[in-house]
Symmetry: C2
Subunit: 448 residues, 2 copies
């Protein structure tokens, strides 16, 4: 460790207060060990040096962006060093004509989009944690978010990465062009690998032109089945929504809307076509249309209450449990046509397990975020919450979906992944891990 201290100087930290702060993430997964220190590299040579040193000295490394992950993706499973990318947070290049930007991993998505807007382009991946989530974390976690139905997730928007593997090799992967066929697609192997195959030191991201205009509606429903059936109806009408989000009655009331199931749908359109699309959208809906918007900013404003779902859930939980509540935000995905059955079965599951349920999510792409909570220290409650997570995964897999849409596997869903994938597939994944990280020093105990 002396060499690391010498190399990084003040950028090596082992102050216990800071170590404790960096040990937690947004999930309720508990770290199994404390960090030996936090290292703040400033360039990729330092990252490569650090990983080589760790490889030679059998030291475990945990890369960290802003630790907003929700599946135990960043927490320590045994003692090791945290590698923070806070000091590698620059935008290296913005090239709107060539539709790409080059960035360091520590830049926050929202910060990046503020800069990109000056060039008339944007980076479409929009996770709930967009204000603090970093590009490096979003790559590691294969992040998704609100614009998924139209724009997909990280794997669709990362053109290239520089990555330091668990052997300390710095690999420059991918291209600056959208089309690129230079051998096996290692870029997308890194995307979503949760820091278990390598540490991303730079990324080339594809950017899209800002939509010209948009329309949006906010719709109320008496029951959740009618709401998700309307989402199926929108998709059946071949409307390709920019977002289709929802929240429940208690949460809607909490953010100042009616006490009803609330659906938010937005569609990006060409200027001049707003009226026609809005009419088509409204005619596909059976709920009570409470609000409508024309224009990008107006559509985003209409969506704004949905962005407060998380704080609404926290408020509701606080009224029940005071300061001692632990919020569990889950993440599953099913084909859109299976949403009615999924929400029915999820409600039944919560009832059976006697856990509180708040359900919201990105229904446009079949992605649900069922949320529950329990009191800190209530071991029985925590056990019920874990049974709830397990049950959700089973429902998703049975309906042809996946145990995770966008939060990833981490420590939380390792067992559930075994429900979805056959043993042979897991065996190949373990072999790939061994190629990139033969000593298992990168974020061990995650995914596989």
């Amino acid at each position: 460790m002396r060499e690391v201290k010498r190399k990084f100087g003040e950028r090596f930290v082992d102050d216990p207060a800071l170590l404790s702060l960096y040990s937690r993430e947004a999930s309720f997964e508990e770290p199994a060990a404390g960090p030996l220190g936090i290292v703040y590299p400033v360039n990729e040579e330092e990252v490569a040096w650090l990983v080589k040193w760790a490889y030679e000295n059998d030291i475990t490394l945990y890369s960290q962006g802003s630790a907003t992950s929700l599946s135990g993706n960043t927490i320590l499973t045994k003692p090791g060093l945290i590698v923070s990318f806070e000091k590698m947070a620059n935008i290296v290049e913005v090239n709107p004509t060539d539709s790409y930007t080059v960035v360091q991993p520590g830049i926050r998505i929202e910060e990046l989009n503020v800069e990109l807007a000056r060039y008339g382009v944007f980076f479409p991946v929009d996770p709930g944690s967009v204000r603090s989530a970093t590009i490096g974390g979003a790559i590691a976690n294969g992040a998704g978010g609100m614009r998924g139905a139209k724009y997909g997730s990280m794997r669709d928007w990362v053109l290239g990465v520089n990555v330091v593997t668990g052997r300390g090799d710095l690999l420059k992967l991918g291209c600056r062009t959208l089309k690129c066929r230079n051998g096996y697609d290692l870029v997308r192997l890194i995307v979503g690998s949760e820091g278990t195959l390598g540490l991303v030191t730079q990324a080339v991201l594809r950017v899209a032109p800002l939509p010209e205009s948009a329309v949006a509606v906010r719709v109320y429903y008496n029951d959740i089945s009618s709401l998700v059936e309307d989402v199926v109806r929108i998709k059946s009408a071949r409307i390709w929504p920019l977002f289709a989000e929802f929240m429940g009655p208690a949460e809607s009331e909490e953010v100042g809307l009616n006490r009803a199931y609330t659906l938010f749908v937005g569609v990006d359109v060409n200027r001049g076509a707003e009226g026609g699309i809005l009419a088509r959208l409204k005619s596909a809906l059976t709920g009570h249309i409470a609000d409508e918007a024309i224009g990008i900013e107006e559509a985003m404003r209409l969506l704004e209450p949905r962005r407060r779902l998380f704080s609404a859930q926290v408020s509701i939980m606080r009224r029940q449990l005071g300061d001692q509540g632990v919020l569990v935000i889950e993440d599953v995905v099913v084909p859109v046509s299976k949403l009615p059955e999924a929400v029915r079965r999820i409600a039944e599951l919560a009832q059976k397990l006697e856990v509180p349920l708040s359900i919201g999510g990105h229904v446009g792409d079949g992605n649900l975020h069922p949320t529950t909570w329990f009191k800190r220290g209530d071991l029985e409650g925590a056990k019920r919450a874990r049974r709830f997570i397990e049950g959700l995964g089973k429902i998703a897999v049975e309906l042809g979906g996946s145990v995770s849409a966008e939060h990833g596997i981490g420590t939380l869903k390792r067992e559930l992944l075994r429900l979805e994938l056959e043993p042979a597939v897991l065996e190949y994944m373990r072999s790939l891990k061994a190629v990139f990280d033969p000593k298992g020093i990168l974020n061990p105990g995650k995914i596989i």
Copy 2:
């Protein structure tokens, strides 16, 4: 081989005439050996059986769709069996609400789109060979095509694959949903792996709603620099073209247009917004606008002459060389802003090497298809053509592009790939190959 004959009966063929027919692909690469036979499996169990048998008996396998590849991706490098997917060509499911279709690998892209159109959706990847190219071949080759600037390439549209690896394991990978985070992204490792990691037996493809409407223009230019500068101008104006294609003066004349550099640009738009977008598009252009179109079918009709570029090139070559011409269609990509420099340097290269040059391509995404030809048996001409290919790759890499945008590496560009990727990256690719195909029985001598 006796067991294979017994297992496949009449679906094992070793008639020399057929063997010779199946030995060739659309490229000018020569096979280094003849096939031992052709096998036509009808289901994935048969494919898995065959690969297991080949693994145990050290027999090489070459999977084949319609052999339209242009980089030596399918040709035999040593004796082995050809696995044809002609008899696995069904559409298993079309699900427009959930935005996916499940298909067998032998289905042709155009056939698939005819069926999908009945549901109001389409599969956007549109290679030049779309009438004969199969989905299995397109996955193996990571195909691109005319709609790349807007819709990307195969990797963006394959949600899941069933694949038999070189160890004979049948792996079910990916999801039916767009968002999906079930471990490492092995789906995209298979896409573009050119049949060297596994044989795809089924695929889940993402589909998109058919565009509501479109506008398009055909524009003439006196020189190619003005043409590609207009493409840069379109991209700088933040217009996101559905296609931006071009062809040279001789080829344009050959298909019945003016003797000029011809640019075809189409943009998909909402119904009602055609006028506004067409005006914006036209105001970004400096060339002579010879034709314009409003509506999807009209835009596709305007593009139609561009689809005859290949036969125009063949006609021009025939007038020079008679029946003995060998056409070499190249494939490189550069960032769009580098197109003016790229086309200038490519013309200089052709002149220096004294090779004929016909240039066309998908300029909207920076993808050029410089084309040359030589007389069969003219060893000096063939050598010059190879030097031309090498020079093109160097230009692309120097300008920040790639040695292949969409045709892949095959046998033709193995050496060039070494120009683009550092040795460490190639080493990791070789290790991945060893995981999936430890005995090297799948399409050897390609990519790495």
